[in-house]
């Protein structure tokens, strides 16, 4: 659906996007993650044709973006960061204007606007000026704007910023619902959001792709080992170290906290072995009381932090 090759963008001397290549298929919900200033918005702006790449090619469907900009704009729905809309216009007037420009026929236009208002929960604010809306409602008007002509490709730059938790869940459901037959690209720095909605995640740091894959495969690919947290009663650090150290595959045992005779420890294991059974057997042999025992799977947050940490 979307092919990006060697995309590069310079702002003067500053390299915002550095040789990015991507291939996005129909039906994918792609999450673009990255710290502030990583180049997410710049990439999205180039995909929508708003910015011209310094170098590289973008092909959407069968069109090169610089040859058929109008055809491409027709099939993309785009919500820019923080939804900058016309503040003086009424919500209804604005949606009607977008419907006109999107070439929606007069016959179906009102039904479509009503549909969008329903979907995005705008019914109560249709006759208010956009400038007087709260941030959340402003964002919803932006979403309605982006989805107005039922576009094949939906590009959303931080779609849930400024929404309350209920709305975030609603928006995620909308995105997942329409994502079955559409291609959706979402940029965000909220990791749980990407985990909850996307089926593919691309992490960007300083204009480069540092990771690309589904949320599950990203977790497996990283080299860092598993972490096991154990809370024991009636034990002391010295005997714990002595008791567990002989298990093969354990790299490190460290004390997290100590409260009276309750001991919290973290065990780092070498990847990919699962040592939980062995550790449990060792603990059973002693007279320690096991209060807590769980293995942390490497979360997206850990992956993100380890990949984008400033050196």
């Amino acid at each position: 659906m979307i092919q990006v090759e060697d995309l590069t963008k310079y702002y003067g001397d500053l390299c915002a996007v550095d040789h990015v290549s991507l291939d996005i298929k129909t039906g994918e919900i792609l999450g673009l993650l990255g710290p502030n200033g990583a180049g997410k918005t710049t990439i999205l702006r180039m995909l929508t044709g708003f910015l011209r790449p310094t170098n590289g090619a973008i092909r959407i469907k069968d069109y090169a973006i610089d040859e058929k900009p109008l055809e491409i704009k027709r099939i993309i729905g785009y919500l820019p960061e923080s939804a900058p809309l016309y503040r003086d216009m009424l919500v209804y007037d604005y949606l009607s204007y977008v419907a006109d420009i999107r070439e929606i026929e007069a016959k179906t236009k009102f039904a479509r606007i009503r549909n969008m208002a329903e979907l995005c929960g705008l019914n109560n604010v249709m006759h208010q000026p956009i400038g007087e809306l709260s941030k959340g409602y402003n964002q919803r008007v932006g979403l309605a704007h982006a989805m107005m002509n039922d576009p094949e490709i939906l590009i959303l730059d931080e779609p849930t910023s400024g929404l309350d938790p209920n709305q975030i869940v609603e928006i995620r459901e909308i995105i997942r619902g329409i994502g079955k037959e559409k291609t959706i690209i979402i940029s965000t720095h909220i990791l749980s959001e990407a985990e909850a909605t996307c089926n593919r995640v691309v992490i960007i740091n300083r204009g480069r792709i540092v990771a690309d894959g589904s949320t599950d495969t990203l977790g497996q690919s990283t080299s860092q080992g598993n972490l096991i947290t154990v809370v024991l009663q009636n034990a002391d650090m010295e005997s714990v170290e002595r008791g567990l150290h002989s298990i093969r595959g354990i790299e490190d045992i460290s004390l997290v906290n100590e409260q009276g005779d309750i001991l919290g420890i973290k065990i780092t294991c070498r990847h990919p072995e699962d040592l939980r059974g062995e550790i449990y057997r060792r603990i059973k042999e002693t007279n320690w009381v096991l209060l807590e025992f769980h293995q942390e799977t490497k979360s997206l947050e850990n992956i993100f932090r380890s990949l984008t940490k400033e050196i």
Binding site: L51, L70, K73, P80, P84, M89, P129
Partner: protein, 234 residues
Amino acid sequence: MQQVTHIFKKEFGVYFVSPIAYIVISIFLLVTGWFFFSAFFLFNQATLRGFFGLLPVTLSFLVPAITMRLFSEELNVGSYEILLTLPVTSLDVILGKFLASVAFIAAMLIPTIAYPITVSFLGQLDWGPVVGGYTGALLLGAAFSSVGLFVSSLTRNQIIAFITGMAICFGLTLIDKMLFFLPQSMLGFLQYLGADFHFQNISKGILDSRDILYFLSVCFIALYGTYLGMQEKR
């Protein structure tokens, strides 16, 4: 072409949603009405020359106030990004905004038709110069609009757009008033550049193709500059 209509309708509508339209039109009618009628009875002639004579100066500071928001506001708020990612071309955007501004100037001129009607009751009014005057006013308004639009596309600050636009429009209006200290050889050329010179020709009731061509070329150059400015932003 259809997209031009949509953008035109939206821009023209927004003028009347916000207070700009009412303020600009009131000021225009107050200024022109005051200056016209305060001198009218002294001259004791049934002519609108006083009204049209002052029009280039009035429009020089009012038209930039009308056009200043057209691009600057969009650049400042960020809606420019939305506008350009909708299926429209730069040309649609420029023409839509330009026509909205010209239509607004027309709407501003319509109430002043009361002046010639009043005057025609008081004496023998020659309608030729009146028709010429209104044609010229529209052409002048279009030329100033295109200049204002161009300046607006260069900055995200509406005040800068207004003041720069006003300076250029005043320059075009007053250029042929400052010719007396210039060498003879440059006179004709500089006089031809003056907007007031051409406007006064038309408002005498003479529709000369040179004058019309002048206004159309100002429009073309400024609108083309706007187009280049938009391309530069990508």
